[in-house]
């Protein structure tokens, strides 16, 4: 059995944590923009963090659930409903076959993640389910999800005991607190940090930047330039999710999940891995401020998020055990 897309969204793709091990061939890892929210959605339904999820942007798709299933949504709040009834984020929901999952208003955030206990039957390309739009490979037929696409589930479970009679859905009575979102973005100095002169360094740290409308899965361009005249050129060198590049005119661009593997712009800073989830939830027009942190702080921030997910996974698996039976 399966789910069916019954209305197109603006950009909804199948993603997982990404495709590693192929950067030397120019193949970027891609993957979810907000790995923490995707991991939370997966954990809530008892999945590992590697499981494929649907990443939605606003306005988002509508889904017809063609079998009983358990789902969880985390990340952006786009007012999710099942058959018109609001359902909470960050809480597992069991939905009856024939239910429609729809999204209404944009409340907070920029990217939502839908995970299913039944797990999406997506073939791996180079070890990952992530959609590689440029290569038209990975994910669901290498493309954004379209009306009419029918994605099979890998498993089915019986929820009879908790989905009684004609009740369309049940919200399971446990939830997790959303991780705190910090408005300043923790960054580390990049390899070419010293290519900035003092006024540029000062502006980088003190300026409030606006995320421009040139903000997508490849990168976020910031509106306000900093003082910079490019006199040197960097020979193309490796980049990463969160690399802050300084363009010749002084504009900054933060590379996001679908960034190119290498680039020739100076890498003046790098967003701490643990700060990327919060950054990924910023809409164009949002204001951000950078804050330099130590390596110890950055490593610890990531470790704490991984530990949070690990604890959540264990707790949810324990709670799910008596609730579900695989058929």
């Amino acid at each position: 059995m399966s789910i069916k897309i019954i209305k197109n969204g603006v950009l909804d793709t199948i993603q997982d944590p990404g495709r590693t091990g192929y950067r030397h061939l120019g193949i970027n890892p891609g993957g979810v923009m907000d790995p923490l929210s995707a991991a939370i959605a997966n954990a809530l339904v008892g999945n590992s963090s590697r499981e494929a999820v649907i990443e939605i942007h606003f306005p988002a798709l509508s889904l017809l659930l063609q079998q009983d299933c358990m789902l969880a949504i985390a990340g952006a709040d786009f007012s999710a409903t099942l058959n018109g009834q609001p359902i909470p984020l960050m809480q597992p929901v069991i939905a009856a076959a024939g239910s429609k999952l729809q999204f209404g208003r944009l409340n907070t955030g920029a990217r939502g993640y839908i995970a299913f206990r039944e797990q999406l039957g997506i073939p791996l390309w180079l070890g990952s389910c992530s959609t590689h739009i440029k290569a038209q490979l990975g994910g669901w037929q290498g493309k954004a999800l379209q009306k009419g696409d029918t994605i099979p589930f890998r498993y089915s479970f019986r929820y009879n005991s908790i989905l009684p009679g004609n009740q369309p859905f049940t919200v399971l009575p446990w939830r997790t607190a959303p991780p705190v979102v910090d408005d300043t973005i923790a960054v580390l100095p990049g390899p070419e940090y010293d290519w900035m002169e003092e006024p540029a360094k000062k502006a980088f740290e003190q300026q409030v930047f606006t995320i421009s409308t040139v903000a997508d899965r490849m990168g976020f361009q910031l509106t306000e330039p900093i003082p910079f005249s490019a006199e040197r050129q960097l020979l193309s060198s490796g980049t990463s999710f969160g690399t802050v590049q300084l363009l010749p005119g002084g504009k900054l661009i933060i590379l996001m999940a679908d960034h190119q593997v290498s680039g020739g712009y100076p890498r003046v800073a790098q967003v701490a891995s643990g700060a990327q989830p919060a950054l990924a939830q910023k809409q164009p027009g949002s204001k951000i401020k950078f804050r330099f942190c130590t390596m110890e702080y950055a490593e610890d921030l990531l470790l704490k998020q991984e530990q949070y997910v690990a604890v959540l996974q264990t707790a949810c698996r324990y709670k799910l055990e008596p609730v579900i039976n695989r058929t």
Partner: protein, 235 residues
């Protein structure tokens, strides 16, 4: 024996680091990078997730979860991985030529597939035929793969056909062979691009059915040979 060139190691955030040599396009520097890449691939494969060998830099992406288990208390992961890299630097075999392959690639340089060959020839005051002859006479090294999946940065091209890239990128067809400065490259996909297109190859630089889907590797040696329009179409 110490590593042949001065280098520095800087963090690229909390899950990657960059080993930088002098920022200069140079075959010897690039060879040292590729030799280092092979060395780290063999010795640190269990904690390194990915690497990008560049012209004169090597970016190393590590898996924090796997590295944490081994890391001594009290130092950062970055310090730990840096020390592992440092330990490997003197053991890099700069003379390692065993991995070098020679790959011959057919190119049709006829006007239909070479929208910029006349402009380039004019700018360099030579004939298009001379451009073809010079481009296909050289043996090039793949400095790195980047930009697009399977895009190989190669060079150096003969000075007589070297021309800075266009200021405004234009749509480029997949398979197009271009020149930018002293570099030559092949577009694996249709893409906007600023390189001067002087021909097209029927060989797929990115083949989704293959695993891995990219044929060329950093360090490969490349020769181009001219083919006719007929040969291109029936390749």
């Amino acid at each position: 024996m110490p590593f042949a060139f001065p280098y520095s190691i800087s963090p690229l955030g909390d899950t990657a680091l960059v080993i930088m040599l002098e920022n200069r396009m140079d075959i010897d520097l690039n060879k040292a990078i590729i030799a280092l890449y092979h060395r780290l691939q063999q010795t640190l494969q269990d904690i390194i997730e990915d690497m990008v060998p560049g012209y004169c830099s090597l970016t190393v992406y590590y898996a924090p979860g796997k590295a944490r288990i081994r890391k001594p208390e009290g130092i950062s992961l970055f310090t730990y991985i840096s020390s592992l890299v440092e330990r490997n630097m003197p053991l890099v075999n700069n003379a390692d030529e065993t991995v070098t392959r020679l790959v011959r690639i057919p190119v049709c340089y006829e006007a239909e597939y070479a929208p910029d060959i006349n402009t380039l020839a004019e700018a360099k005051s030579i004939t298009p035929a001379k451009v073809t002859a010079l481009h296909s006479a050289g043996t090039y090294i793949v400095y790195m793969i980047g930009f697009l999946p399977g895009f190989a940065y190669m060079g150096p091209v003969d000075e007589r056909i070297a021309l800075p890239r266009k200021t405004v990128p234009q749509p480029v067809q997949s398979g197009s062979v271009g020149i930018a400065g002293a570099q030559t490259g092949i577009y694996p996909f249709d893409s906007p691009g600023g390189w001067h297109i002087i021909g097209r190859t029927p060989v797929k630089m990115f083949d989704p059915a293959a695993n891995p889907p990219v044929t060329l590797r950093a360090g490969d040696q490349i020769q181009f040979y001219p083919i006719s329009r007929y040969e291109y179409q029936n390749y």
